[in-house]
């Protein structure tokens, strides 16, 4: 999470790369960032949140936190595709989707997203990704399946200041509803008929 002033300068930032503890640490991180910067929560002008794609639980914690913070402080909450905050300029931004899949999106030279976000098996999309710089930890996790691509070591993760930068253009507009980019359906099996208990 990051606090960014009206000049677009990040004044405080706090990063925790631990998907499992998102839920516990996010609110505390927000309080810490505000405290470090000496900013009163009531002086915030907007909240920006990554809408994913990403692990579902962490995604929901982020979105519900942004939505309720905006609600309670009477300020707008803007959602941005999380991959938009990963790198800049022409690139493919890629994160690990687990289950041997990647989340990815493609951006043109002025940084506009032209494809995605998608969830794919690396092998299914490798051909269309050739010749473009690939950023994000997802490319490193799936390096073996992506041999031959122009994978850059940095940046690895979407950053909060970068998300805010993307949101600057939205400031002042009426925010769109915060709809998470799950890209996958819930895992759920329809049950078969009840099992027999007698042979």
């Amino acid at each position: 999470m990051a606090l960014v002033d009206s000049g677009g300068q990040a004044v405080a930032e706090c990063v925790v790369v631990d998907a499992r503890r998102h839920g516990e640490l996010l609110a505390q991180g927000i309080a810490a960032v505000l405290g470090d910067a000496g900013v009163d929560r009531r002086d915030l002008g907007a909240v920006v949140v990554g809408l994913g794609p990403g692990p579902f639980t962490g995604l929901r914690v982020g979105i519900v936190t942004a939505a309720t913070l905006g609600d309670a402080l009477c300020i707008p909450a803007y959602g941005i595709c999380s991959l938009d905050g990963l790198g800049a300029g022409e690139r493919v931004a890629m994160t690990d989707a687990r289950r041997r899949e990647i989340y990815w999106a493609r951006y043109d030279t002025d940084g506009t997203r032209v494809s995605g976000p998608h969830v794919s098996k690396p092998g299914d999309v490798i051909e269309q990704l050739r010749g473009v710089p690939v950023v994000g930890f997802g490319a490193q996790v799936h390096a073996e399946a992506l041999v031959g691509l122009d994978v850059r070591p940095e940046p690895k993760y979407p950053s909060a200041p970068a998300l805010v930068e993307r949101a600057v253009a939205l400031l002042g507009s009426v925010p769109e509803p915060l709809v998470p980019m799950y890209l996958r359906r819930p895992d759920a099996e329809q049950p078969g008929p009840p099992k027999r208990v007698t042979a």
């Binding site: 640490l25 996010l26 929560r41 639980t57 936190t65 998470p180």
Partner: protein, 341 residues
């Protein structure tokens, strides 16, 4: 805040209902619910990811429905309470994150509370102060617990619980094998009214020397009986006989606990407390034993936000310290812990 009449908003997301309640002192002002039960029906049970997605969508709108009904503003609130466990962890996390964010933004204390304690505390809204000590029987799709309550703001002492299926789960499973859909409790209850509870002698596990109960053998016995039956299954009789076995076991154990502990009050809560036969038999047996029975109205028995707000309000009034901002969602929070710190 006026004296011990704090205005508290309670959030409940432990399973498939997004509940937001608002309580002033011991007065219920609003109880807004959004349920995803229809989305789970075709799966025959609650699908955690489906529930979590629904909680996220429903959270802010449900809070606002509650505020409107109560005629208060967020800035009027004295505290936020939220179920922090037990329950489905991904579902709990949505409510916990929302509660933290509201508490942070409004600069009010946050209470992460035990879902079971909230099921007990809710009766304060309907019948006044919880009689203490009391025996509480909580029976729902996820729980069948017998508890000794000395002080609902401090600790609940577990006396017994189910060793396999929860009571509501047994209703749901039997309904499923009879092809009655999900959730099963309400349909079985309705059909049982036209059935003969003595038609089939299903087994009743009432082991001596323990307050634990078991429903898995009963469920299997119902399945066997239905499979072995030739011709059309007398659904009403099966429902009535099965239901009788469940409520007999539950009320026997509850009254045994009252007798052994000398406690004169029994409180029943949880979704199964909506069961008409359970209410009737419990009343009959309590009357015979000189025990006073309290059961909140069905809408307050099933999961809701009002129960969380009710407990939160009691905690504020009792001066119990609030939870910290790193409050976790604890899917297996023990009943001995009323507030998570």
């Amino acid at each position: 805040m006026t004296g011990d009449e704090p205005l508290v908003l309670g959030i409940e997301t432990s399973c498939d209902e997004t509940g937001v309640g608002i309580v002033r002192g011991t007065t219920l002002l609003a109880d807004a619910i959004a349920s995803s039960v229809d989305a789970h029906a075709r799966f025959g049970g609650v699908v955690p990811e489906v529930a979590s997605r629904a909680h996220l969508e429903a959270m802010v709108p449900t809070v606002h429905r509650a505020l409107e009904t109560a005629g208060v503003r967020l800035s009027d609130l004295d505290a936020i309470a939220v179920t922090s466990g037990p329950g489905l962890v991904g579902a709990l996390l949505v409510g916990v994150a929302a509660a933290k964010s509201y508490a942070l933004a409004l600069d009010v204390p946050l209470y992460g509370v035990n879902h079971l304690a909230a099921h007990v505390a809710v009766d304060v809204l309907e019948h006044g102060p919880i009689p203490e000590p009391c025996i509480a029987m909580l029976v729902s799709g996820g729980h069948s617990s017998l508890l000794l309550v000395d002080d609902v703001t401090r600790a609940l002492q577990p006396l017994g619980q189910t060793i396999d299926d929860a009571a509501g789960e047994a209703f749901d499973k039997v309904a499923r094998l009879l092809g009655l859909g999900f959730p099963g409790g309400p349909v079985v209850d309705r059909l049982a009214r036209d059935g003969d509870a003595a038609a089939i002698a299903f087994p009743r596990a009432k082991p001596k020397g323990t307050y634990d109960v078991s429903f898995s053998g009963l469920k299997t016995a119902v399945a066997r009986w239905v499979e072995a039956h030739e011709g059309e299954v007398p659904v009403a009789d099966v429902c009535a006989s099965f239901q009788e076995a469940v409520v007999d076991v539950l009320t026997s154990k509850a009254l045994e606990a009252c007798r052994d502990t000398g406690v004169e009050h029994l409180l029943i809560g949880g979704g199964v407390a909506a069961n008409s036969r359970l209410r009737a038999l419990a009343q009959e047996r309590c009357d015979a034993a000189g025990v006073r029975l309290r059961v909140p109205r069905p809408g307050l028995c099933t999961d809701n936000g009002a129960m969380v707000a009710a407990l939160g309000s009691r905690l504020v009034a009792a001066g119990v310290p609030a939870s910290a901002m790193d409050l976790p969602a604890d899917s297996s929070m023990p009943v001995t812990e009323v507030v998570n710190r």
